[in-house]
Amino acid sequence: MKRLKQDASEPSFGPAHPTTDVAAASPIARDLAGLLTHEDVDRARDRWRVSRARWAERRSKTLGRLSVLWLLVGPGVLVFLGENDAPSMLSYSATGARFGIGFFIPFIVLTFAMGLVVQEMTVRLGAVTHRGHAELIFDRFGRFWGFFAMGDLMLGNFLTLVTEFIGIRAGLGFFGIRPAIAVGAGLAVVFAVITTGRYWTWERITMGLAIFNALFVPAAILAHPNWTAVGHSLVTWSPLPHGNPFDILLLILADIGATVTPWMIFFQQSAVVDKGMQPRDISAGRFDTTLGALLAAAFGIAALLATAPLFHHGIDASQFEAAQFAEALEPWIGHIGAALFALGIFEAGIVAAIAIATSSAYAFGEVVHTGHSLNRPLREAWPFYSILLGSACAAAALVLIPHAPLEFIVLIVNVIAVLAMPPALAFLLLLVNDREVMGEYVNGFWENAAAIAVTVVLICAGLGFGIATVIHMG
């Protein structure tokens, strides 16, 4: 079972998956009781609510189950709606505008299925080990590989954060709000959400914001899509996209990068740990993750459908930013539809900025062994919150630099995410197959087969892009 290395001076510790009674009766319980933190008490309060809901579940199965699920959903929904971020929604929009309804609709569904395979493993890893992903990589593989993984994460996170603020700026730009004010408003929301000093409150507020990702649905309906063609494309994967193969490959990679990225692995595992989920909560965690994937897929497809009129009317959207998409769509989906689209891009940027900055802060805290929980107050975990806010501030400042090639940066960020994903998946697979870490929750045959298939698809997509790029440059 789980192998724990202890400091020599410390008393021996409990078994791999100890019962809570064992915790209370453990020889070191007295020591631990004196060392309990604000974070532990808040987490225990969340666990008590879950226990109470489970009692209710035994008396009223439906209501009780709903209550348990309501308490345990969060990380999965947030990670997928967070990944439906500004660059992702712009990738779907660019896809719809350039290729219309066809191959890319089922392709988006496929990418979310790939994301679901990956994220389910992070739920198990977090619930069983109670450790974040960065901490586990450093513990099990050492500093050398740990710093590589962190380098990929931090670079990808920062570039993605930049694009979130591009989305925030562009989304509010549609309403005539000046860039500095839009970016400042985005930062203010990120700051306001973390001042709660409570994971539960942070999670619920962020989920409340994330549900506005659904704004793309009315925008899509206002575009009056041909539902028969949508259904046909879902079944037949056709019509296939035509045009420059390099452009098609770039959009394929961007759409994959809109769904599976390294920050999602680090974020969801840390959020599962911060939420206090335990092995018995894994099935609820799977529901949470599936719900998030379904919602995100629906909203992503809605973004594609909303911009499909641009394709049908032959409008060149290759250099569009978010606000330009909304403005170009106005003749076909009306001012309200265009405003919903612009607000959707703003929302996508805000939620992702919160989630990605938190992902960086969690990883930093886990690696330097400083407090890394949203259950800690600002003054107690200031290094954690400094990274969270500092990365957001730096990204916001970069966005205000004039004449940046925004659309290209947005697409390239998703491509980089795809390229950095195979090593992240390799670490994840090694960890989730590590019986000393996972015990009975180790990956089964089908879970490994699905995860390896996802990794191979990502590597092939990356290599294809590389070869096409070299040919394109030649």
Binding site: F13, P18, T19, T20, R47, A56, R280, I459
Partner: protein, 99 residues
């Protein structure tokens, strides 16, 4: 209150959960919030390795990577660096097109 919670938390796996008789009483889900100033109650609600102090004291040991795993990690590292160079060159060319 404490006994009820402990009764419910005998096993952390889904498969084996012993529930106290009180849990079936009407209104068991409407009990008042527990006094979490009691450290033993906090410990009864969390798994032992979920407590911050315990996590700070214990770490997973380093695992020995097999040759295959090392080759895989190095191969993927080379892949990422090579691909990033290609993306970087592609991005620079797009921003500053060669006449």
């Amino acid at each position: 209150m404490r006994q009820e919670l402990n009764g419910e938390h005998v096993k952390s796996s889904d498969a084996e959960i012993k529930v106290s008789a009180e849990a079936f009483e009407p209104g068991a889900d409407k009990v008042a919030a527990p006094d979490l100033k009691d450290p033993s109650l906090v410990l009864s609600l969390l798994e032992a390795d979920q407590v911050v102090a315990a996590k700070q004291r214990t770490h997973f040991g380093r695992r020995n990577l097999s040759v295959g795993a090392r080759v895989l990690l190095w191969g993927l590292r080379i892949y990422v660096v090579a691909m990033l160079v290609i993306v970087l060159i592609s991005a620079i060319r797009a921003i500053h097109p060669v006449p």
